[in-house]
Subunit: 366 residues, 4 copies
Amino acid sequence: MAGSSFGTIFTLSTWGESHGKALGVVVDGCPAGLALTEEDIQFYLNRRKPGQSRFATPRKEDDCVEILSGIFEGRTTGTPISLLVRNTSQKSHDYSEIAGYYRPGHADYTFDAKYGFRDYRGGGRSSGRETIGRVAAGAIAAKLLKTLGIEIQAYTRSIGPVTIDPNAFDASAILETPTAMPDREASKRAEAYLENCMKDLDSAGGIVECLITGVPAGLGNPVFEKLDANLAKAVMSIGAVKAVEIGDGILCSQANGSVNNDPFCIQNGHIKKSTNHAGGILGGISDGSPILLRAHIKPTPSIFREQDTVNKNGEEIKVQIKGRHDPVIVPRAVVVVEAMAAITLADALLMNMSSRLDKIVDFYQN
Amino acid sequence: MAGSSFGTIFTLSTWGESHGKALGVVVDGCPAGLALTEEDIQFYLNRRKPGQSRFATPRKEDDCVEILSGIFEGRTTGTPISLLVRNTSQKSHDYSEIAGYYRPGHADYTFDAKYGFRDYRGGGRSSGRETIGRVAAGAIAAKLLKTLGIEIQAYTRSIGPVTIDPNAFDASAILETPTAMPDREASKRAEAYLENCMKDLDSAGGIVECLITGVPAGLGNPVFEKLDANLAKAVMSIGAVKAVEIGDGILCSQANGSVNNDPFCIQNGHIKKSTNHAGGILGGISDGSPILLRAHIKPTPSIFREQDTVNKNGEEIKVQIKGRHDPVIVPRAVVVVEAMAAITLADALLMNMSSRLDKIVDFYQN
Amino acid sequence: MAGSSFGTIFTLSTWGESHGKALGVVVDGCPAGLALTEEDIQFYLNRRKPGQSRFATPRKEDDCVEILSGIFEGRTTGTPISLLVRNTSQKSHDYSEIAGYYRPGHADYTFDAKYGFRDYRGGGRSSGRETIGRVAAGAIAAKLLKTLGIEIQAYTRSIGPVTIDPNAFDASAILETPTAMPDREASKRAEAYLENCMKDLDSAGGIVECLITGVPAGLGNPVFEKLDANLAKAVMSIGAVKAVEIGDGILCSQANGSVNNDPFCIQNGHIKKSTNHAGGILGGISDGSPILLRAHIKPTPSIFREQDTVNKNGEEIKVQIKGRHDPVIVPRAVVVVEAMAAITLADALLMNMSSRLDKIVDFYQN
Amino acid sequence: MAGSSFGTIFTLSTWGESHGKALGVVVDGCPAGLALTEEDIQFYLNRRKPGQSRFATPRKEDDCVEILSGIFEGRTTGTPISLLVRNTSQKSHDYSEIAGYYRPGHADYTFDAKYGFRDYRGGGRSSGRETIGRVAAGAIAAKLLKTLGIEIQAYTRSIGPVTIDPNAFDASAILETPTAMPDREASKRAEAYLENCMKDLDSAGGIVECLITGVPAGLGNPVFEKLDANLAKAVMSIGAVKAVEIGDGILCSQANGSVNNDPFCIQNGHIKKSTNHAGGILGGISDGSPILLRAHIKPTPSIFREQDTVNKNGEEIKVQIKGRHDPVIVPRAVVVVEAMAAITLADALLMNMSSRLDKIVDFYQN
């Protein structure tokens, strides 16, 4: 519980620094019998890989994953799955300068305050490369969920002032546009906006939205382990996320109950809701409707403008950050949000199996 | 971990239903030596007590707390502190009708889906009365934090369309206005808005804001146990909260890095930030600035208008909810947000003590 | 996790001191739908109640349990079950003297070393009365297990030099002899031995044995969460237990593999073992044979002889303990061992449900 | 919590199978600032390495450890330390035969019962090679403890009928005898006994004893997280351990209180005990005396005699195990017991820092 583990039954422990030898994750509690290959995981890692567009750092990393344990004859065995990604493009000399001062918007100062010193190369553990472990574990969780009919899809909803048009939603665009927007026209405008940010030596923020379909009613718990509470933690734990919304989210605070309440109705003989302001969760428990969440992501803190800050000697200085940086975090964060949502759902799915005596009796007596 | 516990070192386990015999909480991991009386806890419970304004349910409960363990000669002993609040005003006959159908916006349906049946009296465990345990535990956490110079203050930022004016901030108003707004003029307007909602048989949402001062730099962890991630979970776990923001929150997604980055500076010989868009947390670790968060709260789902829903037999019906209900949750949620923030900070404070070898050596050798 | 909670899915949090207002437990994670009454729990509490034989403290306590939450219409709802037992016979003036010195064999000194001070009345939290919460929770776990065909029976195997004859095993004697021995003749000899101890102002130790039948194969996990590891922790966490054995236990260290290995065989078409040296657990996972464990319990540390010790001022002194004390802990510990075994098994049973994908698919698709 | 993690603050997650690509461990929660090299860890791994005596499997593995993260400029950074050991001598063809049947005394059957299938190569996850991760993590814990003056030493106390003579205790012999006995004469006799076992195609068990000195009073918690309870779990979680004793252990059950109680006394102005029957723990909390524990280890289940068992088709068969196997587990288990004790103590040491308010105030205000 020192901060790098997540989950109760389906658990992961990530490790690794931006410029260390490698990064990775140990996934424990994945049920036995799931078909799993390195390709399943690589597909997700490729979605967050750097160097794929002009809006992502040109750092060259293949991010090739190696499965070291937990798989036998192509299936999970129920024992820990260890995944390894070697760093190949560390350029530590790039970072020697930042050892001595605190970059605004970064964790340099807080790491020093907590630990007394830090691995300053590329941000060390606070680098975005930390998400490699999350995404690799998320690929496993997503495959597990898919087996049960649950699908998760995240995408960029907005970058700076440019928001997608829900009526123009085109899922195929998510993997094809450099913005990960499901709206090619909006993407063009966002790209233009980002070009301008780059010219201004500045960076942009945006919103990632995530839709989860096929979730059975009953996942999550009342009180502290609410499904939305765990999703909020999962998503807020991604670096640069500053707000999380479920369903109508921030709009709820201005809505009235007569509008915000979702009426129940009968569809094809099943209990459903005729609207989904709640975003698929009532009282912390999934209600069978799609789960919808949004993550608000701050602009990349590494900008090339001159900035005010202080150094380790306590002197105020001006700095100009060099190196390789994304002008926007959002497009590469899409798969990270998707991964964290998948991990949270997988854990909730397994935790829920022990909630009713009648089903437990069935389980053990059949 | 079945859902009613929270925290790693400073932990709480709450229990109880709206119409059961009692509600309560067991707080474990509170350090020995903290002066603590029933009055300390009652003061917080009184802030969430029903029946205190025309915007709160008229249910009459004194919510008197009894300390059953963990205190000796006026101080905590380091062993579990058990707190008990008896229900005195259960009117189960009010609720017999709702046993058979699912109220829109409530957890009736999801509890049935998860557990097969439910304690339908007053919402059972999903009632707002569940927060009694949180508030009682929060009172202890807040006292612990105060001993170390950390103060937490939550208040209503908005109700429906009415938002406080930060320039008119008056802390004394928080405990005196029926809205818990720190702005008496805004409160008047919000009260008028709520009167209208009530006339319309409708309800309203709003925003609770929470400010935490005196936090040392270094609390929280990188990766999953980020301080903001745990605050997000803590606050999102409160029923009716649909979005959580840290610092500038949702504004970050439209901001540029040049504005959103907080420059470091030197003030009185100490490293500080000259702005606080980050809301006091960088890379998941407190940076010594005030921590600021916001919770968006949906309108009370219990409204007196006729609504569409279904019953347990799978028939679509019209219902009109009766009973005693708040037209707005926000004012009574203020102390709950404060409590959850206090609990999260207290745990982070204790967890942080083992982060550096030099301090551990000092601890054990002095 | 501050020390008073146990379990991952089926969890309990106990609280209370010997001379506080009350003791109790919160059980979370018990599946919904289990029929449960106060009588179910009282039956177990009565087995550990003081004052029932001349070998137990004459302190007069009814130890009446009150269920405060988690039950609706006679069945568990899946939400926390809070159980309360009021202390009625505290005589704090008995204990004023021991406030100033450290009783040999007791936790007085270690509590002071850890917490800086202690509730010295009757041992406070380190009193045997702490086990009330364990036994009450164990009653619930035992009922849950019984529903699934798992039965747990503990009994006294030996007191001092007197051991039961397995050939004379008579289960009915467990609840009828003052020693909780399932062998009336051995019990007589143990009683005579205890009478002598009492005359000598001395106390005796002994062994509790526990047999668990009907356990399906597959409970427990490899590596750290082995079923035997969790049973060992559960039982060693009972005050006064100094050794735990599984199956042949200490005999294994002198055995040869050719004897210690249990051959597998086929019985009625099922895979069984023809012997059970392993005590029902292989590689940390139940093998379908009965689980057998033993707890070695030290003599009651409170003896009426004069003893050497030190006081809080750091002076060596002679003390003579007064008050009400059992000359042997073993008979009253029997139900505590049974309770801890039941709690551990219940948790393992629920944890095991998520181990195989095929069964998870069945669970959610049927 | 799926079984491969241990600890609350100082935590480890192990992974890997006997014949997979590699084994390893992620250690999280190690304080920042501890000097640590691969040599520190390799020294411990070498103590458990196979092929070092005629009583250990001749499987040839160098068990070279690689540190992949968490160290910067020679010191721990407070972030996860990932350790990797590649398997180099897998001979999977040796094991093809055992895929179809269940070896007596092994976890083959229980893994199949739990997971539906298993990695049968060399026992997969249930192999003794699983302890590589424990030992590597234990090396880190031991170095941390040493910094604080705590030393842990385990050794073989007995093999079969041969027990060391405490009066002949020679610590230097532990690393030099093939039995890990601290008594060269007893070791000779044990070696002769083992030679006989091997001639008989049989195996032997024994006892590992572990002594921990320099432990401050106050570590551990009352109730479930007792230091002895956690040590019992830690040690019982090692494969083949069937009993755990603390202090006088099994002797307590026949002792009288007048003998078993340890009188407190004053030595050099400090409170001490004049005897140590309790083994350094009272009421679950360390008392400042040396901690003493013993693990009883069963004979190696892999013996070369013909044995009765069943195959996966449910047929009774005779089998004769081939391959490379230790005739006794005990000497190589010594460092594993030491590692698990170190890990448990390190966690207790860090957990204890938050037990007293006065020390917390000191910590944060200095």
